[in-house]
Symmetry: C2
DNA sequence: TCAAAAGTGTTAAGTTTACACCCATGA
DNA sequence: TCATGGGTGTAAACTTAACACTTTTGA
């Protein structure tokens, strides 16, 4: 690079850049977030999202993946960028610009020891404590994005086990949208989606009678008309 | 701040943080972007978005507003964050993390001298040149976001003059969605939206007969049912 | 035997789409 | 007088919403 160009950059300030993860889970019929009860500084004792700083040798997206892996042990998780948060005083300790990401993980599909080590726990999304800094805003934005995307993309299945019942699927949509759905109409729509396949397995944990287990087929989805909405916008 | 906390931050690297602006305009029935033909380094001679570096005394959002103002002279412009772009090599000169914003501005409602000084011009969105770095990706994402938001929020009016004809409004939706709409169905829907008000003024520039001018009323909009979509998703 | 969740169709209401002609004006 | 864009209503197709009872089984 020629001298003139170096100079172009060098006159500008540099900032710490962090990533923060809004980690969604669905268990016991509830939508939940994985939050840290901080036993470290800064803001020790308060609740926060899992976060970390972007390093020299990694992209922001990879930093988010790393941070998620540090907490859950998981790789190849569905993540979406929520946005950058760049207010001057958002972190009272230092000027830090943070990029938020949301992640969708399956119940039990993570490393419980790691989660315990970080002093993290699942909190029902309707009973969230106040979080540090602007993490409440991040959660709010992530939740809205996720809700919107769940209408047009099959991301919900990332929150369900490989095999799931239609009652589980319906409950998941209900908690995401915050409204109840008609069971018969819901099942009619499921039947129209050829990428939601019935299996011959039965789940007996949810009821005495037992419920049919279904599976999402990503290949079929790619070919299909992919009209997902169970709910109008 | 106590020593322990300082240390917490100081071990991490810091980065240049930039903002880049995707500036939409609508004129002569076409959707356009305001692009720079760079007569400065780096990447002199190539096309790019208008951008700049975040400074110590400003938030990322305010940096974007400043950069937009530097180019157009405009304040109080509708802007939305598109997202952060944090690949390691996205700017080959230096590691720079950029936050993209899109802006919607009205035709003729900007400082033409400033635009000329920056060697910027309006380019039809269907005839964009290749842009530097990852600016093409930014434009792509901005366009998708804008399209999606235009369905549920009355942002289109930010691209139109205060008074506009229904033909202008329809053409705008058509270029945003990339599909033609039925004139009678379109006008029926406009009639249902009480925040789009007819005025007693006539525009004679577009036709011999003249067309009724309409106006968007933000107060009425806030109270209304705000169902905007002219197009299904 | 009964409580609890699973499963199953039809009809009315509402929404969306398709479609063609007359009007007013300036050149 | 004619070319150009402005303006207007209806009917059929489709989509959505509302609704209640039977089945299975373990406790």
């Amino acid at each position: 690079m020629i001298e003139k160009e170096k100079k172009f950059y060098i006159q500008h300030p540099r900032f710490y850049v962090a990533v923060d993860c809004i980690i969604f889970g669905f268990d016991e019929g509830k939508l939940k977030l994985l939050l840290l009860k901080r036993n470290f500084e800064p803001a020790k004792g308060q609740w926060s999202l899992m976060g970390g700083f972007v390093q020299k040798n990694e992209s922001a997206d990879n930093a988010a993946k790393r941070v998620l892996r540090e907490l859950t042990g998981l790789e190849n998780v569905y993540m979406e960028q929520v946005g950058a948060f760049g207010e001057i005083e958002r972190d009272p300790g230092e000027r830090v610009i943070s990029i938020a990401y949301y992640a969708l993980i399956k119940p039990d599909d993570y490393d419980k020891k790691l989660v315990k080590q970080h002093n993290a726990c699942w909190v029902n999304i309707d009973e969230l404590p106040t979080l540090i800094f602007d993490h409440d805003m991040m959660v709010e934005k992530a939740r809205n994005m996720m809700k919107r995307q769940a209408v047009s993309k099959p991301i919900c299945f990332r929150l369900l086990p490989e095999l799931f019942t239609l009652t589980q699927l319906q409950t998941l949509y209900e908690v995401i949208y915050g409204e109840t759905l008609d069971k018969r109409n819901f099942r009619k729509r499921v039947a129209d989606m050829d990428f939601i396949e019935i299996t011959d397995k039965i789940d007996k944990t949810g009821s005495k009678r037992g419920a049919r287990l279904y599976r999402m087929n990503p290949e079929t989805y790619c070919k299909s008309d992919r009209k997902l909405p169970f709910v109008k916008l």
